[in-house]
């Protein structure tokens, strides 16, 4: 019986040209690096990383806003740990906490809500960052706060959604993508049908992949088979978790609390309809409104190439800061901060001089 590697080699030979597959999800990026499977691919097949690390695509102006509110008396900022070290224009949450600001790292938005219940004299603002996977949990915390009248709780919302950013990447002439490894846990919520337009409009195959090395190799083999046959379909490799239409309960909750909005992606820019905003019904729980937060233009290091890395047009090795001024201990850009960031993956697994 042929192994997966042999199948991939055979199909790649049959295709006979260079193929670029984008793994959209940051966790897929990490698995691909950690397990060394990139080295098992034939030279003609390249994996490029996409904009699927939530922290990496969060605009620096959002970090600035979080820093501003954490300095206020009677405000506690609750956040996922990933955001702590992301540099804003002149500070980070990590630095603010060291200076005495009230910042709590939580594992779940429900922990942030609990914190608000337990500290009635503080306003607890949760930093709502993440894709479709995370949005239902945050929607739940807002819905629950409204139901139980927890009025000292709010969410600074910067949730983003996948379809429009994938569309934007496909419109970018600089980026050549022959197939998408679609994010598995986003798809658990949304269902695989959200990628259908990519196959129909762009004739590009999509495979929703699981997170074991074997899953990713299998998904690559499936994408290559589609390319060899001239097909462009949505296929689900991760069928143990993903269906065509997803988790309806979670979708209804997200729909109840959020509405689509324009969102600003770090390094990519504003994309219409690519974000989630808190509906007017729940305005009281929108930190931007409840706390009167003003978003101002951020200043980031002009040498940082995270923007190009997130779009798949640069690799970290193209960046002058990589491995010198920018390391996991002293990150300059978000792709070095996050454990799922492409720069962090290159640094850890490819070596600085790779």
């Amino acid at each position: 019986m042929k192994t997966l590697k042999q199948s991939i080699d055979d199909v790649a030979r049959r295709i006979g040209r260079d193929i670029r597959l984008m793994e959209v999800c940051g966790t897929h990026t990490m698995v691909a690096f950690r397990t060394g499977l990139r080295q098992l691919l034939p030279d003609s097949v390249r994996l490029i990383s996409g904009p699927g690390c939530p922290v990496c695509v969060t605009d620096a102006s959002y970090v600035d806003a979080a820093v501003e509110i954490c300095r206020r008396p009677h405000v506690t900022v609750a956040t996922f740990g990933d955001l702590m070290r992301v540099p804003g224009s002149e500070s980070s949450l990590d630095r603010e906490r060291a200076a005495g600001a009230s910042i709590r790292v939580v594992y779940s938005p429900s922990d942030a809500l609990l914190l608000a219940r337990e500290s009635p004299s503080q306003h607890v603002a949760f930093l709502g960052v993440g894709f479709e996977t995370t949005a239902p949990a945050v929607a739940w915390s807002i819905w629950r706060a409204a139901r139980d009248h927890v009025d000292n709780f709010s969410v600074l919302c910067a949730h983003k959604t996948m379809p429009r950013v994938m569309d934007r990447l496909l419109r970018d002439q600089q980026i050549k993508i022959n197939g998408f490894l679609c994010p598995g846990h986003v798809s658990v919520i949304t269902g695989a049908s959200i990628y259908q337009f990519i196959c129909e409009q762009y004739k590009i195959p999509c495979v929703v992949s699981g997170f074991e090395a074997w899953d990713i190799m299998k998904s690559i083999a499936m994408l290559l088979s589609q390319l060899a046959d001239g097909r462009a379909e949505v296929e689900i490799e991760y069928s143990r978790s993903v269906t065509e239409h997803g988790n309806k309960t979670a979708q209804r909750l997200v729909e109840d609390v959020f509405e689509p909005c324009d969102a600003s992606w770090r390094g990519i820019g504003a994309i219409p309809g690519s974000g989630l905003a808190i509906r007017e019904t729940y305005a009281q729980y929108d930190a931007a409104k409840a706390l009167g937060v003003k978003f101002t233009e951020a200043h980031v290091n002009p040498l940082c190439r995270c923007g190009g890395v997130l779009r798949g047009v640069s690799t970290p090795l193209d960046c002058r800061l990589f491995g010198g001024a920018c390391t996991p201990a002293h990150p300059v850009g978000p792709c070095m901060v996050s454990t799922e960031g492409t720069c962090a993956a290159y640094y850890k697994y490819e070596g600085v001089s790779a």
């Binding site: 997966l4 060394g36 949990a137 739940w140 846990h185 190799m217």
Partner: protein, 75 residues
């Protein structure tokens, strides 16, 4: 951040469940999945079960993990 882990429900109290991930216990919310039951395997993200796994799906993962020696799978 989009990491999600499979876990088994070992205690259930309304929409709150205690899960075990390879023996490590943690409390989560199960209101996003339908009819959670004791012993069910769920996929957990940010403190919420987002999907319920059938027994056969758990076995599939176990089989993949048992084969994670890439030299065996990919030689």
């Amino acid at each position: 951040m989009c990491l999600a882990v499979p876990a088994q429900i070992v205690e259930l109290n309304g929409t709150t469940a205690t899960i075990s991930v390879e023996g490590a216990l943690r409390e989560i919310d199960v209101s996003l999945v339908e009819e959670p039951r004791l012993g069910d395997y769920v996929l957990v993200h940010a403190g919420f079960a987002i999907h319920k796994w059938e027994r056969s799906e758990v076995e599939e993962l176990e089989a993949i993990r048992a084969n994670t020696d890439l030299r065996e799978v990919l030689r």
